[in-house]
């Protein structure tokens, strides 16, 4: 409100502004204004006569009934006129207001107060002196001023308002306190549900409330617990409730509860329900991000850079056109890709004129990113076992203008027999996909112990094959990046830990500025301390799909051969571990 300050040197006109204009005189309804009537005209006199006649006739007709009411009406009329006259008098001679009228005025005031209060309540409880109501108060001020002297308290209207406000605040505080007490008592009340209650589940809302309650109890177990119940019971109840509320299967929920602390678990589960924002990667071979953003904005796309950590990512908030069919997309200026997919390639850090292998390339998002970083020099081998999915790689590579590629469809575990001596290898291993639950909700229910076991075995073999493909004597590289879109340590840290034992590799920093550190301790497992250098990404923390990135450096081409007996022993040990796990 008010005049805008102009700091650019333009002169602001002086004098009273538009808002300071004097208020116009008040207007009153017609009935209140006394008529200053002159002598009646002839026609008027005649009409008056007629009216009188009619009146008399009517009175005669219903004299007994109507008389009383009429009288009372007349009295009211007279009073009204009188009061208006009084007001007029007041305004004329404000100093000497008679005592009788002050009482009347107060009544009026009270009415106004009520009005103000109701207005204040509408516009927000705490501050009743909003713009609207304050205006009204100003209007009233003229009248208030006149009877201030007559008031007993001698209070300014603003002081009155203050008093009112204080009263109201007091009331609110009391209410809030009552509510707090109520909540506190409710907390204490939480009792463990009986078997019957558990057998007959009620609404989801009740389940949600129970989840909250149980988490509350578990957070302060000593004081809030039911003395007869062990912690296990609470955990079991929480697990069952979470499974029903978020529709996970018991196996996966158990795993998640082992990974996350309780406070984080709920956040993770809720974040996993929502899709991550659509993101795209600029193809630096064909365009620049600024040009692309401009072109897309012109097509009615609402977008922003992903973050400071990448110079080629854009996040799409809304779009009037399908993002996968714009002419820019078809011309290969960008590819739709999750924000998390940029990370392993950034960790791989490809250089020009290198030989690089992407072992599980389909649909070619990360592989094309590698090619873009290599600026179409050197050689990029894109491999994927799936013949159908590799077609997407062909399409994407040609669309994005990548010419230094060889696309092949080996089984990743046998690729080292065909080609070797790469400078860098990216292994984005097939996994259970527990990090991308938002994309594929089926993961919540259809994964179990056996699936994870199968994935683990495959991942181990793939990682060893990837390490075998790399040339440790490479001048520029000799690195392997292992990534999955899973958050289970079984598929991540455990695999890398296994590779550390089997091959001459070490974990090196990924070069990613953010992300949570990898686990070194997980339940009964004690991984190599250097696994701290790996990175984990979570939907609720980093607003991208759950992801894991590890960067390994190979320091010798020798494949350590241990005694076969020892190997077997180790394997046996691992099997035992697994059995323990499954138990």
């Amino acid at each position: 409100m008010g005049r805008k300050a102009k700091f650019d040197g333009t002169v602001v006109s002086t004098g009273p502004g538009r808002k300071a204009k004097k208020q116009s005189d008040p207007t009153f309804p017609k009935g209140l204004i006394e008529k200053t009537s002159g002598p009646l005209s002839r026609h008027q006199k005649q009409r008056a006569k007629k009216r009188l006649l009619k009146k008399n006739q009517n009175e005669k007709l219903r004299e007994p009934k109507a008389k009383k009411s009429k009288v009372s009406k007349e009295v009211v009329k007279r009073e009204k006129i009188q009061s208006s006259a009084d007001e007029n008098e007041e305004e004329e001679d404000a100093d000497e207001t008679p005592v009788e009228e002050t009482s009347e005025e107060e009544e009026q005031d009270n009415e106004e107060v009520e009005q103000n209060q109701s207005l204040g309540l509408k516009s927000g409880p705490a501050d009743s002196d909003d713009a609207d109501s304050s205006e009204e108060e100003e209007e009233n001020e003229d009248q208030d001023d006149s009877d201030d002297d007559g008031d007993d308290d001698n209070l300014l209207p603003i002081e009155k308002a203050n008093k009112r406000l204080k009263k109201k605040q007091e009331k609110e505080r009391k209410l809030a306190e009552d509510e707090m007490k109520d909540i506190a008592t409710h907390q204490d009340i939480f009792t463990f549900p009986t078997e019957e209650e558990l057998a007959n589940p009620t609404s989801l809302k009740d389940v949600q409330q129970r989840i909250r309650d149980v988490i509350m109890v578990l957070s302060d177990f000593k004081t809030l617990r039911d003395k007869d119940r062990p912690r296990v019971d609470y955990m079991e109840l929480l697990k069952a409730d979470l499974c029903t509320y978020f529709s996970y299967n018991t196996f996966l929920m158990e795993k998640l509860m082992q990974i996350f602390p309780l406070s984080e678990l709920l956040e993770y589960l809720e974040a996993s329900e929502v899709q991550r924002p659509m993101t795209l990667r600029t193809n630096t071979l064909k365009t620049r991000r600024r040009d692309l953003a401009q072109a897309l904005i012109n097509r009615g796309v609402n977008l922003d850079p992903i973050g400071k950590w990448t110079k080629i990512g854009l996040v799409v908030y809304s779009s009037q056109v399908p993002m996968g069919a714009t002419p820019e997309y078809l011309a290969g200026h960008y590819i739709l890709q999750g924000a998390s997919s940029l990370l392993p390639v950034m960790a791989l850090d490809p250089k020009e004129n290198e030989r690089i292998l992407d072992m599980c390339a389909a649909p070619g998002g990360k592989a094309s990113h590698i090619a873009a970083l290599m600026k179409n020099t050197g050689v990029l081998f894109a491999n994927d076992i799936n013949q159908d999915r590799i077609k997407a790689v062909i399409g994407n590579f040609h669309r994005l203008g990548i010419v230094n590629s060889v696309i092949c469809s080996y089984d990743g575990r046998k690729i080292s027999s065909a080609i070797k001596g790469f400078d860098r290898v990216l292994l984005d291993a097939p996994c259970t996909g527990t990090g991308v639950v938002a994309k594929d909700p089926g993961v919540k229910t259809n994964k179990d112990e056996v699936d994870v076991q199968r994935c683990c075995t495959l991942q181990r073999e793939l990682l060893l094959a990837a390490i075998d493909c790399v040339n440790a004597r490479s001048k520029t590289g000799g690195t392997i990046v292992y990534s999955t879109c899973s958050i289970l340590p079984e598929e991540n840290e455990w695999i890398v830990d296994y590779a550390l034992k089997k091959r001459d590799v070490k974990v090196v920093p990924t070069g990613l500025e953010f992300g949570a550190e990898g686990f070194t301790n997980y339940r009964q497992h004690r991984f190599h301390p250097s696994l701290k250098l790996t990175r984990r990404f979570y939907p609720h923390v980093h607003n991208m799909d759950g992801f894991f990135v590890a960067k390994l450096k190979k320091f010798s081409n020798i494949i350590p051969k241990k005694d076969t007996q020892k190997d077997e022993e180790e394997e046996e040990e691992e099997e035992e571990e697994k059995e323990k796990d499954s138990e």
């Binding site: 078809l330 040609h398 010419v403 060889v406 696309i407 065909a418």
Partner: protein, 180 residues
Amino acid sequence: MKRLSEERTKLVFEKLTKYLGDNLKVLIDRPDGTYCFRERKDRVYYVSEKILSLASTVGSDHLVSLGTCFGKFTKSGKFRLHITALNYLAPHAQYKIWVKPSAEQQFLYGHHIAKSGLGRITENTPQYQGIVVFSMNDLPLGFGVTSKSTADCKHADPMSTICFHQADIGEYIRSEDTLL
């Protein structure tokens, strides 16, 4: 992966000359290493010799694609360019057509270009000349063949076809499976 036979080389070069003219030399004599045409399963690939030598270790059963696919030989023995060749055709094309934004979408759905959608055309384009189609902001959209020369275009009916559609980048979505 084998060398193109004499006849097939001739067919490929003839086809490319329709679009590139004398610029075909640029593709063959490159300053950044030697590039060559190779044939595999009737597909023609254009690839650097460095990459070719590395790819030789990959078994033929497992090799899917390398370098850039230019097109394929049809069963009747003719050579057909694919949209994937646009990468090399667009920068070296001799004759070009620019289409208006309103006609862009039409062309990307596989329609011919009418006179009403014609934004610009290279001077002195003869009839039945291979041309590359651009959008008004110089985005290569595909290629085709003119049905009218530049001079005839001026007097043509607004609805009459100026350029026959051969390939457009919409094919990356429409026929991803049959791209190769």
